[in-house]
Every structure is written in C-alpha cells, then in structure tokens.
Amino acid sequence: MKLLNKSFRPFLIFTLFAVAISIPLFYWVVQAIYIRDADESLLISKKQIQTKLNQLSSDRATQDSLISIINQLEIGYQLTPLFQDPPVISDRYFTEEKFDAVHGHVEPFRILETTIEVRGIRYRLTTRVDMEEYYDVIPYTALLAGGFFFLILGGYFWVNKTLSKKIWTPFLKTLDTLENFNISSGKNLPTMDTDIVEFQKLSGILQNFIQRNAALYEEQKKFTENAAHELQTPLSLILAKTDLMLQSPNLTKSQLEKLDEIKQVISRMKKINSNLLLLAKIENSQFESDGPLLLKTILRETLDFFKDVLEARLLTIDLQIENEEQIVANRFIVETLFHNLIGNAIRHSPVGAVISIHLSGDQLRIANPGAKKLSESGLFKRFSTTNSRGGQGGLGLAIVKEICTQNNWQVAYAFEKESHVFRVIF
C-alpha cells in the first residue's frame, strides 16, 4: 500500500464512523433539548394561568365565564372542573400527535396534564405546545451537520492529496534515483529539493552514505587493480629465474620436474592476475562500445578459436543460430563473454560430449552435459568454491556476471535434463 493511502485510509474510516454516530446523536440531543424547553414553558403557562385566574375571578360567575372563554378560545388550554375529590395527579408531560384545525393536518404536540386550584375549586388543566416548527428544524440541522462533515472529509482528502504530492515528490524522486543508482558511476545523489527538515536530513545522510560507499568501492577497485599490477613484476622475475634455472647444467630429473611444476603454478597465477585486472577494468567501465556487433559472427569466431581443443577432446558443437541481431557493445567484452561461457562448457564436458549452443532472438543458450546441479549460491562470485577448479582461476563466471551487469544483460544458470545451461539475455 502506498504511503498516501496508508495515512488516508484510517482517517476515512474514522470520519465515516464519527459521521454515522453523530447524525442520530445530534438528532436526539436537539430533540431532547426542545422537549425540555417545551416542558419548561408549559409549566410556566400553568403557573401564570393559575395566578391570573385567581386574580381575575372576583366572584363565582366571573370565574365560570373566564374558564368557559378560555376553553372556547382553543388557544392550548382546557380546564375541566373536578367535582369529586379524585387523587391529586402530579404533572404529567407527554407528546401526542393530534389533528390541528388551523394547520389542517396532524401535528405533534407536547402536552402537560395537571391540576390547578382557583378559589377553592380544582380544575384539570390540559395545556399544549405545538412542536411542529421545532421538529421541522431538527432533520435539517442534522442534515446540515452531516453535510459539513462530508465537506470536511472531502476537503481533507483534497488538501491531503495536493499537499502530499508536493511534499512527497522530492522524496519519491530520490527514491526512484536510488533504485537505479550505480555506485560505480562516480556520481552522487542529487540533493532533495524540499523545505522539510526531515527530508533534508535524509537527503544529507543518503549522500553521505553514498559518498562513503563510493569511496570504499573506488578504493577496493584500485586496490585490486594495483595489487594485480604490482604482482606482474615479481611474477616476471619468478618466471625468468625458473627459465634461467632450467638452463643450469646437471639438473636432476626431480629438479627439472619441480621447475616445470613451478612454471605451471606461475601460469595459473598469471591467469588469475590477468583476470583480476580484466575484472577491475570491466568494473571501471573502461570498455567503450565499438558500435553495432553481429552476435553470430563473434560466436562463430569464438568457436573457431576453440577448434583445436574441441578436436582434441572429441567434442561436438550443436550450433543453432536464428539471430541476425546486432548489439551495441565492446567487441572484446562480447568475445570475453562468449569465450568464458563456451570455455567453461568445454572444460566441464566429458570427452566425446555434445555441447549445444543456441542463439535466437536476444538470447544465447549454452548447454553441456553434467552429472548434478551446481550450487547456485556463489556460482557467479569471485573465487567461489563452485568455479575455482576451472582454468580461469575462479574468475571466469565472475567476469561473465560483471560483463552482463555493466551492459544490462541477464545471465542465469539452470540444470535442465542432465545439462548445465547458461543463458544470457541481451
């Protein structure tokens, strides 16, 4: 999940939850407040009517006519004299839907039923308040509140989206650069274009890291190259001295054999050394492109180079070429790639075996018979045990890998049908 969605989703869920609760809650609370207000005003009306009736009723006849007028006016008060002595009922409030002649339809009323006493006579008072206006307002208010909630939500989403885009763009840009970053390029990461302190800090730290790593990498590369270079002279000396010793008269057989063995060892060292140098050079990207090269031509030339060896070991090449493709690369590098892969196949094939080489599209497939799958971990690493027995001093496949990395090609190993298969995709 993307960062932006991650931060927005809980907020969205929370807001929806809040809105869902708040609308009915709002409705109920407002309703309760209205009812309380209505009850209060009903109680005040009761007190007022009781006081006023007591004041205005100078005699019994006036009292009766006043009450009659109030009842006939139908202004929300109904008085019924109580002749017997029924139990005193306490104030009873309730809501009732009633037909309203004025409005011409059924409306909710808040009603107070109580008992008042005017000059010794007790009356049942029923007084009411029209709730219609109040009730009309409630759903509108609730709706309005809900609307604002959604407005806030939408606003937040919009602000979040535009602001985040602005805030995160430099970060995402850096992330993209980092993804394709090549430490050997010698370049540093561009500074993040942002005014956010945390990002500036991150940018600084990243640059620092990369600088240090690049320096280390550079140092290591130089070390490999220098070490290999420095070894050339002592190796030359050992070689020259063995050549000289070979010329000494009266050498015994075992001395001569030992000298030849020393020469073999030096040969191996020479090979390792020159491969290390080659690897360092490839890592340094010292090979410039020679323009478009025809893969099949180089492949044929490589096979031509191995003609004697193939003959000597009775190996057959099953060559299939369905490729006219040209690639832009350095010729020597492509030759080295083919040489190392085919050389390996030759070296590890039993006498009389068939090596299959298939070049089609942008893919080269080289397969040679083998007994069991090679351990893949470290197969392409320098001096790994898997390939150190080869004649390239354990560097042949490391060179292959490095060539592919530098040129954005892919190389993979698989064990298929009793065969070691190496594939290169250009």
Binding site: H229, Q232, T233, L235, S236, L237, I238, L239, A240, K241, T242, D243, L244, L246, Q247, L251, K253, L256, E257, L259, D260, K263, Q264, I266, S267, K270, K271, S274, L277, L278, F305, F306, D308, V309, A312, R313, F332, H339, G343, I346, R347, G390, G391, Q392
Partner: protein
C-alpha cells in the same frame, strides 16, 4: 646482433641479460628513458626490448623518436599492462610486437628471433641451423633443400626450438606457447608430447639428425652440437 634492453627493473634486466649471455645476441641495458634515447641516437640496434612503464617517462616516446630519426630498429614492447589501448598505440607507433609481463624468456627469444630475421634479411626471412631452413614468410621448412610437410603447430614448434637453441624448454612453457589462451582447456603436456613426437619423426624421415633432445621427459632442448 645487437639488442637494446630498456628495462627499469634491475632484477629482471639481470635475468634477461644472463639468459641471453651465451646466445648470439649482444645485449645492452638502458634502465631509464633518457639513457635509452641517448643510445638509440648513437647506435643501431637489431632489436629493442622496450618496457613502456619507465620511471622518467613513457617508453612510447622512444618509438616516436625512432620514427623521427627514421630508424628501423625492431621494437618489442614488454609491458606490465595488458592494455589493448597501449598495444594499439605501440604497434601504431611502429613497434613490431607486444609482450605482456610476465612472460617466459623462451617466448621472448622466439619473438626476438622472428623480428631480427624480418629486419635483417629483407626478402629472405629465414632461420638456418644445422641444415634446417625455416622460412618464416612461406611457413616452409627444408632440410638440405628438401621440403618437409609440417602442420602449422609443428612449424611453430620447430620455430620455437630453433629460436632457443641449446636452451632447455619445459613442457609447460612449450604448451603455453603453442596453445596460447587455449592452454587451460587441454592436457598441454600430452599435446606437446604428441607434437614433438610427430616433429621428430618427420625430421628423421627427412634425414635430419635428432636435434631435439628429450630431458627427463619433462623438457626438450634443441641442439646441433
């Protein structure tokens, strides 16, 4: 035949001088570029062995000087750098060969011999020892003017032997010379044995004395003595 060795590594220079001391060559040593430039101005050499990584400058400038002086001394660059650029530059500037350190002294011998032949006898590029004539241009071999039919490998082998006469050559050295970069892939010793056996047989069939001596089955020596 005079050879100038331009090499700043004293040990290696010493070994090269010693290896060729009883040879037909006369080798002089220059250990700096200045010294070398001085010498080529004064003397003619059949071959110059030039290390290009010198303390006081790049040996390639000696090639430029030779060109300027219109001298045709043969030049073999011996370099610790196995760099294609240097190789191309060196050969472009008129060097005849390029040998990367480390190398077998016998390999150096075969290259020196080839260059001296080429420079010395224009039109007649041959090696002649004990009745054997090796024509490097025609890739043909004659014994007492009778042609021998040799495979390319056998020809190269004979050239190698004749360039290093009286020297013991180990099987490994010969295998590396014959196979070059293919050395890793085959049993070099076996291959050398086969080639030498065939070469000896062909030489014997042509009536040549057995010049190739086997030394304890690990090395060979070409000698007419």
């Amino acid at each position: 035949m005079k050879i100038l060795l331009v090499e700043d590594e004293p040990e290696l220079a010493k070994d090269i001088l010693q290896y060729f001391s009883d040879h037909i060559f006369l080798i002089e040593l220059a250990s700096t570029l200045e010294e070398a430039l001085d010498r080529i101005q004064q003397f003619e050499y059949d071959c110059i062995l030039l290390d290009i990584g010198l303390p006081d400058g790049n040996g390639l400038s000696l090639l430029e000087r030779l060109k300027y002086l219109k001298k045709t001394d043969g030049v073999i660059i011996i370099s610790a750098k196995d760099s294609l650029d240097d190789k191309i530059k060196g050969l472009g500037l008129g060097a005849d060969d390029y040998l990367t350190k480390p190398f077998h002294l016998s390999e150096l011998a075969v290259r020196i011999t080839a260059i001296i032949r080429r420079k010395k006898f224009t039109g007649l590029n041959t090696l002649e020892i004990g009745g054997l004539i090796l024509n490097l241009d025609e890739k043909a071999v004659y014994f007492n003017n009778k042609p021998l039919l040799l495979t390319p490998s056998e020809f190269r082998l004979l050239q190698y032997f004749m360039s290093s006469q009286n020297r013991v050559l180990s099987k490994t050295t010969i295998a590396e010379y014959l196979l070059g970069d293919q050395y890793d892939f085959v049993d070099g010793h076996q291959l050398v044995y086969t080639h030498v056996k065939n070469l000896k047989r062909k030489l014997a069939e042509a009536g040549s004395p057995d010049y190739i001596k086997t030394i304890y089955a690990t090395g060979y020596k070409f000698t007419v003595r």
